[in-house]
């Protein structure tokens, strides 16, 4: 490894840092002022990339030259900025006062909607943008060839930082943004209309996301996966830099760019892991990042289940449902049984999340980590140890519980948004490991041949096994929720100072809750692996986490039965609607947004509310 190689490597790290900073800077500005972590920021970036990749060739056809190219980039950013304004006016404005979980879910709804719309508008294929006129030929640096467009990108980061700096220091808008980042109520007391300020901030944030996406098009094809990959990286940058801090984002992007550039030499398969480990390390040492402030983190706004007097009718109803489910194999075909099996699995998965969110007030956005660990634990047992199902399933549970113990140990120190972002990041680390460690996990293809033991192989036998395991697990969790342990979690959620003053060790309880919840999710994952015969990294992906969250939201976060009903309804809908239309994500996204805005109690919660209103 000679010096010129190191320099080239470092330069390409700088180029990635630049484009990462431009995008992340928008996210951090928007968070600083609105206190909303905007998941849709990655979608705006993706729209920027697609728009530029489509627009630039046409502009260059009209008149070939750098002016057309850079004008096109600017127009793209302006278009995306306008879309940001639309999102603010239509959605964000209505949820500034909502609990964090709902804010996160609603903006994730936008992500889903945009994913399908992008395919509708730009087509399903990846689009590579044109190369920049005047920057096509590589330059020679210390005897090595280096793409000149990368040099332009390296310059773009500091230029944007400079512009943002000027905007924030020298314009009234910028001064108001900085003031609002610190104390938005005081800004209102001085007569500033927050709505306009927020809209303006969203325009700026979206403009930067669009710019970041547009600048990528000559290097990377616009593709449908880029929204989630960039948002995860942006989360890391903003969390490491300190939420709301622009210089922090710049510094963090620089470090991460270099870490990726050199990390790839040391651990060729683990660039993502290195990045997320950095985040874990920084948060362990400085819980609010480089330049973040504690007071910037909002309250937890916990919503969750409350005490209810147990009624005999509830137990009877549960037993009747159980009996009906047990009779299902007598009347249904194999396909229906497959669907029913999956519903049971997802019901357990969603219910395990309810222990964290509804009971503990811990907004975990990475619950797929435990589901996936359970599935992979079981599959790896089958693949590498030749374990039978009876041994592989417990192995999966063990995997998931151990993962939950590790992740939980980190995140119980955090709360609110930071906890949500850290759990998401943890799930993304595992996703990256499963994706990149091909030798062990099979990478993108996953592991196949994960079949149940012979006695459980027939559809109806496996269905009954699933029913027994899931019902038992749900029953155990339900007992735990009603037992002192669940009450202690709720106590810490309701009032942390009070919980500590009566001698409860809040962190320890939360850590145990992660393990219990993780083990249950791991069981669900293991059963799922054997029902499909295979595992793949998507089980650990963000969309799996969001499935669980959507089920919880649909059923009702304030109820015990909510996640079970939510899983049933959502999975049935998916089963019915997905074959009919290619727009399932659009449908799901719109539904999530509608539920947050119109229907925050969920199905079970709303029915109960009606009943109580009438009584």
């Amino acid at each position: 490894m000679d010096l010129s190689f190191l320099i080239i490597q470092s330069l390409s790290g700088l180029a990635s840092a630049s484009s990462l900073f431009i995008t992340a800077c928008g996210l951090t500005l928007v968070f600083g002022v609105t206190r909303i972590v905007n998941f849709a920021h990655g979608s705006l970036y993706m729209i920027g990339a697609y728009t530029a990749a489509t627009l630039l060739p046409r502009l260059l056809e009209l008149s070939y030259g750098p002016v057309s190219f850079w004008t096109g980039i600017l127009i793209t950013a302006l278009i995306v900025g306008a879309i940001g304004v639309l999102i603010e006016v239509l959605l964000l404005r209505r949820i500034y006062g909502a609990p964090e979980l709902f804010q996160l879910l609603a903006t994730f709804g936008v992500v889903l909607v945009v994913q399908d719309l992008v395919v509708q508008v730009f087509g399903p294929q990846d689009i590579l943008g044109p190369r920049a006129p005047g920057l096509r030929a590589p330059v020679e640096i210390l005897g090595r060839r280096f793409p000149s467009y990368e040099l332009a990108l390296i310059a773009a980061g500091p230029i944007v930082l400079g512009f943002v700096w000027l905007l924030l220091r020298k314009t009234r808008f910028g001064i108001l943004v900085r003031a609002a980042t610190q104390d938005r109520d005081m800004v209102a007391s001085l007569g500033v209309n927050q709505a306009l300020l927020f809209t303006g901030t969203l325009f700026l944030g979206a403009f930067l996301a669009g710019l970041g996406g547009a600048l990528q098009t000559p290097r990377v094809s616009a593709n449908t996966g880029m929204d989630l990959s960039i948002i995860a990286e942006c989360f890391v940058v903003t969390v490491v830099g300190g939420m709301g801090s622009v210089p922090g984002a710049f510094l963090a992007a620089l470090i991460i760019g270099q870490l990726q550039a050199f990390g790839i030499l040391i651990f060729p398969k683990s660039t993502l892991v290195v990045v997320f480990l950095l985040m874990a390390f920084v948060l362990a040492v400085r819980p609010y990042g480089f330049f973040g402030r504690p007071e910037i983190v909002g309250g937890t706004h916990a919503v969750g289940i409350v005490s209810r007097t147990p009624r005999a009718s509830g137990t009877v109803a549960a037993l009747i449902v159980l009996a009906l489910l047990a009779c299902l194999p007598l009347v249904s075909d194999a396909y229906l049984l497959k669907v029913a099996t999956e519903i049971l699995i997802f019901a357990l998965f969603a219910f395990s999340l309810q222990l964290l969110i509804g009971v503990g007030g811990l907004v975990s956005f990475g619950h797929a980590a435990f589901f996936g660990l359970g599935a992979y634990g079981a599959a790896l047992g089958v693949k590498w140890l030749d374990a039978p199902m009876e041994a592989a399933l417990p192995l999966g549970i063990l995997f998931a519980a151990a993962g939950a113990a590790l992740i939980g140990a980190f995140v119980v120190r955090l709360s609110g948004i930071y906890l949500a972002m850290m759990t998401l990041a943890a799930a993304q680390i595992l996703y990256a490991v499963a994706f990149q460690w091909v030798d062990v996990t099979g990478g993108d293809n996953g592991i196949v041949g994960v079949w149940p033991s012979t006695w459980a192989s027939p559809r109806n036998a496996y269905y009954i096994l699933t029913l027994i395991l899931c019902a038992t697990a749900v029953f155990i969790l339900k007992r735990a929720i009603d037992a002192p342990f669940g009450y202690a979690l709720r106590a810490a959620r309701d009032s942390e100072p009070r919980a500590e003053a009566i001698g409860l060790n809040v962190r320890r309880h939360r850590w145990l809750a992660f393990m219990l919840s993780g083990a249950a999710a791991g069981l669900a994952g293991g059963i799922y692996a054997f029902s499909r015969g295979s595992v793949d990294p998507s089980l650990l992906g963000i969309s799996t986490s969001v499935d669980a969250l959507a089920m919880l939201l649909l059923g009702g976060i304030q109820t015990i039965a909510g996640p079970l009903v939510g899983a049933g309804v959502l999975h049935t809908l998916r089963d019915q609607i997905m074959p009919l239309t290619g727009l399932w994500r659009l449908f799901l996204g719109v539904s999530i947004i509608a539920m947050v805005l119109l229907f925050p109690r969920g199905l079970v919660g709303t029915i109960r509310h009606w009943r109580e209103e009438r009584a």
């Binding site: 001064i175 900085r178 003031a179 104390d183 007391s189 001085l190």
Partner: protein, 237 residues
Amino acid sequence: MSTPLLDVRNLTAAYGRAQVLFGLSLQLHPGEVVALVGRNGAGKTTTLKAVLGLVPATAARIAFKEHSLLGLPTYRIARLGLGYVPEDRRIFTDLTVEENLEVGRRSGRVGLSPWTPERLFQLFPNLAEMRGRRGNQMSGGEQQMLSIARTLMGNPAAILLDEPSEGIAPVIVQMMGEAIRTMKAQGVAVLLSEQNWAFAAGISDRACVIERGEIRFEGPMAQLLANETLRAETLGV
């Protein structure tokens, strides 16, 4: 008597379920300085916040210049010309003195010469020497001056001033008194919440004594100064 600039009738307020104000009424007339005095925890700060809609409150009437303030967003209240200087000052510590003033800037009433940073620097000479300094490098007294100056930049017709003398060196308290007199001379009405009785007595035209969330006395300051029994009972002086 003229129509009050600020008219509060039967105000109640609570933090969560903790009730702090119990049906309180008060008026502020154009160009006068009214002191809201009372013991620690009597409800002075809450009264000011409730008028501005910063704490949940109910009232038969809260009107400023005959506009009802009930249910109005805070920024609209400020734009009507009602300024607010909070107890904890809440200056923007990341912003310089001049930037803090810029946040407060609004065009004000027609016919009056508006407040400018230069005029405010005359009023508070200390600030003039540190116009480029950030809020986090200022002393408590300097922050208090900046907070008042920032509110004046909005050219308000009235200011709600919460405990301006708290935790501040006597020499600066004196300066604060002069500033309030200057505001009054400019036609700005001031509603002052104050624990420092001597300070309040020295600069106010009228007094409202608040006790446990209710008004115990309302009248000319001279009358309160004369009534030793009431003072001893409610204020302990």
